[in-house]
Amino acid sequence: MSHEYVPEIATDREGNEHVVQGWQGDFYGGKLGFWMFMLTEVLMFGAMFLVLAYYNTLHPQDFIDASASLNRWLGGTNTVILLVSALTMGLGLLKMRVGDVKGAKLMIWATILLAAVFLIIKGFEWTAEYNHGIFLMHDKLLVGTENSLPFGQKLFFGMYFTMTGLHGFHIIIGIGLMLWLLKRINAGKVSQDHHILYWNIALYWDIVHLIWVFVFPYFYMIGAGGVTGGH
């Protein structure tokens, strides 16, 4: 595929010429494809929210009690961090589009840094929960021991670790993608005129933070009323 791509021409009966869209360098095709891929992410998390909502209706009080025990400060900080990282990602893309490669790279590094901070905070959170006996296959989440939580809480925490875990996995993939993007920028493969890769990774990062925007209230905030004294 090393040959230079020259768009083909189709000629109609009147002799008018029409440019044939090829798959090579199809910016809109690349964007459309990635939007569709993001749609699959939405459906994947959507199915998990469905499970969550179903068990919430079965065990409303357990869900509120379990949610109340989560650390809203750490979760809230993480939300802010992700929102800011979406901003840095977007700004970087804008910079790339006006040709400021150095600024764009700086912004990508900032995003990577924020993503790492997110993961570190997440790590602290999970560690604290583990120390309280709440973790998959551990102490309070086992069935039939004296410490066992009620079914509703157990399901809540099970989904909490599954969903935030899967989300964290997406963050790790995102960091990998951004490092790869930096490599491509340094190699001159991503530039002002050819930035589809950047565009799509920014889109990916948007979906990752968007999912968190839904994950955060469903896990952290539904129990907040009980803690602050009002429902």
Partner: protein, 551 residues
């Protein structure tokens, strides 16, 4: 000037010299489609012979050749291979890859390298599924539906089967995505959506289902894996979960998946009927839009798999009503095909008789489906041989028959050779007779209460099982005969020319047969409908040097 594989290796990685590596690394959609076909039919025969083994076992009541647990594993293996490895990816991966870009005048799919990666992802999924046969306690024994909580408690390799299904699902998503972008972006100039051949419409509707439904099964399988290893309790009642929730999530994907199987097959039918009736298709738009509406309504009917699983009466009634609804666009297609044939110059070539045979078998499959849509009847027939027969009439007698029709139709396009029509027709009649002998008795056995998935039965069911058994033998011999005919055609057949069927769609206007690398040497401007015939002759003619219309 067209390129060859030798001056342009056309590979995903590097420029290998050996022909073998050029195939393994190829990004050419036609070669990828052929590789899919080779792998899928290998698995198809594995599953066919697994089924035959079950028929041998069921020849008489009591144990003959295999014991009960092995029988459970056999029908699971049959289901998993047929569903996840063969029929779900089947027509899109083979004909979607080979023919769809040719039909819209594209040089390749939108993301050729992704297409290559998808193929190898599919192979990876196949390897995981195969590995589960030989590791530990062997292949899963849950049935292909993996219903919780049994699937979470059995010692067999359910998790590997789930992982395989997840990987294959991912491959399916990426194929669908690739085709959607291809159809949106790479149509030849002038080809609007309503000038696309109907097979492309079928692939388009299918691709949306692949894209939007598959993630749900993906996450369901992940949740089941989480459940198994981390004991969350999502689907296990002993841990507070709800096994019916698994069924809901499973069928939210797996019911649209049957439309995912049938829609491209209907697309093949919509190619064959006008071509061999030498007549413009009746109701082009209704067929195109019925594909889209089947894809849409198909999402809302999954509950009819759960009539006996514990659902509210309101939900049952709604799902029953919606299921009746999905039959309407399907009926529209059937009437359109029959109306196309009316006063056409019908040519009874092999693809056409496969199509006509399918009209009979799929009608039986479809109408028996309507009977079990009714809640009351379904309570009686759920999990009996009746639903097994219904499913196989619809999928084997619908999807696979039309896939065979497509294979006969596009064989000269793909190989440049023609098989012997007498042999091919004989193979059709043998299979058609064998098929009906195999499956029709099951309707009766199921009606009298023969449950599915049982390895033993009461003596009064013996007659049905034995008729089925002989039908199966006839069917399998017809199948082998058909593939032998293909093989002979490929190795010793006469050159077919580029357009042996007098067809009108773009894949038959190639500079050579089989099509050269990068397809059309020159892309035509499409200002005509896909099936324009006048007095039995194609209307649109091209100057093949410039691909300009000269009619």
């Amino acid at each position: 000037m067209s390129k060859t594989y030798f001056d342009e290796t056309h590979c995903a990685i590097g420029h290998p010299k050996s022909t073998f590596m050029q195939w393994m690394l190829t990004v050419d959609h036609k070669r990828i489609g052929l590789m899919y076909a080779a792998v899928m039919f290998t698995f198809f025969f594995v599953a066919v012979f697994t089924a035959l083994l079950m028929r041998f076992e069921l020849f008489a009541p009591g144990q003959q050749f295999i014991d009960g647990p092995t029988f459970n594993q056999a029908f699971t293996l049959h289901g998993v291979i047929m569903i996840f490895l063969f029929i779900i990816p089947g027509i899109p991966a083979i004909f979607g890859n080979i023919v769809m870009p040719l039909m819209i005048g594209a040089k390749d799919v939108s993301f050729p390298r992704l297409n290559w990666a998808t193929f190898w992802l599919y192979i990876l999924g196949c390897c995981v599924a195969l590995a589960s046969l030989f590791i530990g306690e062997g292949v899963a024994d849950t049935g292909w539906t993996f219903y919780a909580p049994y699937s979470l408690n059995t010692d067999t390799n359910v998790i590997m089967a789930l992982t395989a299904a997840f990987i294959l699902g991912f491959a399916s998503i990426l194929t669908g995505l690739n085709f959607l972008v291809t159809i949106h972006r790479l149509r030849a100039p002038g080809m609007t959506f309503f000038k696309m051949p109907l097979f492309v419409w079928g692939i388009y509707a299918t691709a949306w289902i692949q894209l939007l439904a598959t993630p749900v099964i993906g996450i369901t399988l992940i949740l089941a894996v989480m459940e198994k290893y981390f004991g969350i309790g999502i689907f296990d009642p002993s841990k507070g979960g709800d096994p019916v929730l698994f069924q809901h999530l499973f069928w939210i994907y797996s019911h649209p998946a049957v439309y995912l199987m049938i829609l491209p097959a209907f697309g093949i039918m919509s190619e064959i009927i006008p071509t061999f009736s030498r007549k413009e298709i009746f109701g082009y738009r209704t067929i195109a839009l019925s594909s889209a509406s089947i894809a849409g309504i198909g999402y809302l009917v999954w509950g009819h798999h759960l009539y006996t699983s514990g659902m509210s009466d309101v939900a049952k009634s709604v799902f029953s009503f919606l299921t009746f609804f999905v039959a309407i666009p399907t009926g529209v297609k059937f009437y359109d095909w029959i109306a196309t044939m009316y006063q056409g110059k019908i040519v009874l070539s092999t693809p056409m008789i496969w199509g006509l045979g399918t009209i009979i078998t799929f009608a039986i499959g479809g109408i028996t489906g309507i009977t079990i849509t009714m809640i009351g009847v379904d309570i009686h027939l759920q999990d009996t041989y009746y639903s097994v027969a219904h499913f196989h009439y619809a999928i084997l007698g619908g999807v696979v028959f039309l896939m065979f029709a497509g294979m006969h139709y596009w064989f000269p396009l793909i190989t440049g050779k023609m098989y012997k029509e007498t042999h091919a027709k004989a193979a059709f009649y043998i299979q058609f007779v064998g098929f009906n002998l195999l499956w029709f008795p099951m309707f009766i056995a199921g009606w009298y209460g023969m449950p599915r998935r049982y390895f033993d039965y009461l003596p009064e069911f013996q007659i049905y099982h034995q008729v089925s058994f002989y039908g199966a033998l006839i069917f399998v011999s017809g199948l082998i005969y058909m593939f032998w005919t293909f093989y002979r055609g490929w190795t010793k057949g006469e050159p077919s020319g580029t357009n042996p069927w007098n067809a009108t769609t773009l894949e038959w206007h190639m500079p050579s047969s089989p099509p050269p690398l990068e397809n059309h040497s020159k892309v035509p401007y499409v200002d005509f409908n896909p099936y324009e015939y006048h007095h039995g002759e194609p209307v649109v003619k091209f100057n093949y040097e410039t691909m300009q219309r000269i009619d």
